[in-house]
Symmetry: C2
Subunit: 136 residues, 2 copies
């Protein structure tokens, strides 16, 4: 068992012990993973790593997100304390989103995940076409 | 800018350059992040870190996933080459799921993410209740 696997197993045992039913539905870390394990949240945080952005700039960078979903995800991230919203008194007022210090701290584990994705996407694409050929 | 932020920014620039439109919708890493940035996928991979599990065992560990969603997510993970499915000729036949070598390699960045969630869930819970009080 690798170090990472052992670390995760120990976490699982601890979270199960904290819940009454022994399953993971009450695990406190779940509530966090559900947010950061949401593709739009992850993408928005990654996009804001570079610089603060306005709503329209975010939409242009992630064109396949709907306006409604972007609004909702930005609100959720703000509620979690990962991003902050700044209104500037221009005409018309402009609204900017930026990572908070806690949001910045999330970039480190996310960078590791992005690095993994960058290394493995060829292998994953290969696995997908092999699976699809066998299924056909 | 932190090292992680710089690394992510450089990745973003490169992926934008690869697409024609300059946005992130064609980024090859997106197709991977969409999967690992899915809460059920992440939970299943984490749960399988400890040991191979049968369908029913997975369901008991993650009781809030529907049978249909579990079936679909397991199929997606298998298609991506992250888990493998083993059928044993018992009566009735039993089916077991386990991480592949590539799935195992994903545990390392996931462990970093879980560690982050474990460190910050108190702060996130605090931010949520503060936000809700201001909204009320």
């Amino acid at each position: 068992m690798s170090k990472a696997a052992r670390e995760i197993s120990e976490g699982l045992r601890q979270w199960r012990a904290e819940g009454e039913s022994g399953d993971l539905s009450q695990c406190p870390v779940r509530g966090v993973l559900d947010r950061i394990g949401d593709k739009w949240s992850t993408l928005i945080i990654i996009t804001l790593a570079e610089q603060p952005l306005r709503f329209g700039q975010l939409r242009r960078t992630i064109p396949d997100i709907s306006q409604r979903m972007l609004t909702q995800t930005l609100r959720d991230l703000q509620r979690d304390g990962l991003i902050s919203r700044h209104v500037f008194p221009t005409q018309p007022p402009s609204v900017e989103y930026r990572l908070t210090a806690m949001g910045q701290s999330l970039l480190e584990p996310l960078a590791a995940l992005v690095r993994w994705a960058d290394t493995h996407y060829g292998a994953i694409r290969g696995a997908r076409s092999e699976y699809d050929q066998q299924a056909a």
